[in-house]
């Protein structure tokens, strides 16, 4: 999709090295939205090219398809929800990948509701209906979250629905709250025209990561240097994107006209706090301890069998030391 633009920029700035550019395919987490805009930024700003890469950006369609694309060797790199990917790896479904950088240090899954429901804390959800994308990570994580937040998950009715229907359901008060990514807050505000209350899961599940960039393991073993360069370039792009949200949004909009600029800017601003690692570690850092704890949480809540170890989902050799 973006390879045409790519050719253009190649010939403009760095014609000499164009012959050596290595072609790789990267799949975004979901379509072209704010949280994924950094890929286009890295490409447009020449970060990938500087790393010797000619990156084709493909729009993803969620965890399962993205993991499928990695498994089917249709792509070298992908972004996806790390927690969901951990669960799938834990179940032995997809194992030919390792995370190489974190996009969001914390899970973005949150309870969202409108102010008029009077729900301000997790325990208010008791006896209420929560809508969630059927089969999503947020649905899977809800019991764990509820328990930690002192709420009996059995007292909450979980209503699965198609993701695109969630905001409408909330706005129409067909449900009392949503369990979804907090990045859709702005969209929910637009839909409901009400103040939106956000209760992030990360408040109780602070060890879970949000999105991460993964690489195929055979790519890692065959060209470690390239993978490292890719991760670095992507993180450079991420940094640039959160620092210049408007520009990032414009860059993405140029490549993908359906991506609305204001929405992307809103997302980038909303995700900024989640991007920087704690303790001043470099961007993209994946803490081995936290990964281990996140696995423990998922196993402890019966979301996957025991046996997964952090090194099976993360290649820590790419993680910049803190």
């Amino acid at each position: 999709s973006s390879s045409d633009d790519d050719k253009g920029s190649t010939s403009n700035s760095n014609a000499g090295s164009s012959g050596e550019l290595k072609k790789v395919t990267y799949v975004t987490a979901f379509g072209a939205v704010g949280r994924d805009s950094f890929a286009w930024v890295a490409k447009e700003k020449g970060f990938f090219k500087d790393a010797g890469l000619d990156v084709t950006i493909q729009k993803g369609a969620g965890n399962a398809p993205n993991l499928g694309l990695i498994k089917g060797k249709q792509a070298e790199f992908a972004a996806l929800d790390f927690t969901g990917a951990e669960i799938q790896a834990g179940k032995g479904a997809f194992t030919n990948w390792r995370a190489i950088a974190a996009i969001h240090q914390q899970t973005l899954v949150s309870i969202m509701t409108t102010a008029d429901t009077g729900i301000t804390k997790p325990t208010d959800l008791s006896g209420k209906t929560v809508g969630t994308a059927a089969g999503s990570v947020s649905e899977l994580l809800f019991p764990a979250y509820a328990k930690l937040a002192g709420l009996d998950p059995k007292t909450v009715k979980i209503q699965g629905a198609q993701p695109t229907a969630l905001n409408a359901l909330m706005a129409q008060r067909k449900v009392d709250g949503l369990s979804t990514f907090l990045l859709s807050k702005k969209a929910l505000e637009t839909a409901s025209k009400k103040q939106v209350v956000v209760l992030p899961y990360s408040q109780y599940l602070s060890d879970l990561f949000g999105n991460a960039i993964i690489a195929r393991d055979d790519v890692i073993s065959s060209d470690k240097e390239m993978v490292r360069k890719f991760a670095e370039a992507a993180m450079k792009g991420l940094q640039y994107a959160v620092d210049h949200p408007e520009e990032a949004a414009e860059i993405m909009h140029k490549a993908e006209p359906t991506a609305a600029v204001p929405a992307a800017v809103g997302e980038l601003n909303a995700m900024k706090p989640y991007v920087s690692p704690p303790n001043g570690a470099t961007l993209g850092h994946l803490d081995q301890e936290r990964v281990a704890r996140s696995i423990a949480i998922l196993q402890g809540n019966g979301l996957m069998p025991a046996g997964l170890t952090p090194d099976k989902v993360v290649d820590f050799s790419f993680i910049p030391a803190s």
């Binding site: 399962a64 498994k71 669960i87 799938q88 179940k91 032995g92 479904a93 997809f94 059927a134 089969g135 999503s136 649905e139 899977l140 209503q159 699965g160 629905a161 198609q162 695109t164 229907a165 409408a168 359901l169 129409q172 067909k174």
Partner: protein, 262 residues
């Protein structure tokens, strides 16, 4: 191409019982072989044995969910068929109405129904209604198109006969045109049946509460491909059964159609 009809009892059992079973068995065998020979990852395509094992883990539950889906399919299908027949008759009766309505129907039909899911959910909520509406939305068009084609293909001599008897519109319709159209209507019904099933599944994926669609959603949540395949196989079984049910009704209602053609 032979003149002698294969009419004996034995050959009937052969053609209507053994051969279809054979076809299904061969398909399953090929599937099995493929998974074995090409070492297809069971995560993508589990072997038939895995699927059977999975089914036997929770047969009661799966049968119950299947039944829920079947009910939705049937209700929606009946509504769709009834509605389509009425619409088709109206369109076939008035050229003006037909010319005005047909593009709208074609347009509505070309819209991917999944995209309407949010609307359906917001307006109809959860439960059976949105699924049934989905079934209707997905399966009405083939019945309309085929019924109209059938109704407008009455041979001139039969139409003249009805006219010469001064049969009322309704009499002509029931005794001549509809009867004549039946074989073609059944083409529409046969095409609509699987669509109805898919419609129900779409509905159940959009607002998963029960049914095989929600089993598929659940299985994808837990990356349980085998369970998803169990659901798909059950849907396929439902598809075949409903298809042959429709074909059976056709045999009952239009035995003469075979006789006047070869």
């Amino acid at each position: 191409m032979t003149d002698i009809e294969a009419g004996s009892r034995g050959s009937r059992v052969w053609t209507n019982g053994v051969l279809p079973t054979l076809g299904v068995v061969i398909t399953i065998a090929v599937w099995w072989l493929a998974t074995e020979v090409f070492h297809i990852d069971p995560f993508y395509v589990p072997s038939p044995a895995d699927v059977v094992d999975k089914f036997l883990e929770m047969p009661g539950f799966l049968v119950q969910e299947s039944w829920i889906t079947v009910q939705r399919v049937l209700i929606g299908f009946v509504i769709a068929v009834a509605g389509s027949l009425i619409i088709a008759v109206t369109l076939a009766a008035s050229r003006t109405v037909e010319r005005m309505a047909m593009p709208v129907l074609a347009a509505v039909n070309a819209i991917p129904k999944v995209a309407l899911a949010p609307l359906l959910l917001v307006w109809l909520g959860f439960g059976n209604t949105p699924k049934i509406v989905m079934v209707v939305l997905v399966s009405f068009f083939p019945v309309i198109v085929s019924t109209m084609a059938g109704l407008t293909s009455t041979p001139t001599d039969l139409r003249e006969l009805a006219r010469s008897l001064k049969a009322s519109w309704w009499q002509t319709f029931v005794k001549v045109r509809l009867k004549w159209a039946l074989p073609q209507i059944f083409v529409g019904l046969k095409v609509a049946t699987p669509l109805a099933i898919i419609g129900a599944v779409i509905g159940e994926v959009v607002s998963p509460d029960h049914g095989l669609g929600s089993v598929i959603v659940g299985s994808s949540a837990s990356s349980d491909t085998t369970l998803a395949f169990v659901a798909l196989v059950l849907l396929a079984v439902i598809g075949v059964v409903l298809f042959y049910l429709v074909a059976g009704v056709e045999r009952l209602l239009v035995p003469w159609a075979k006789a006047i053609s070869s």
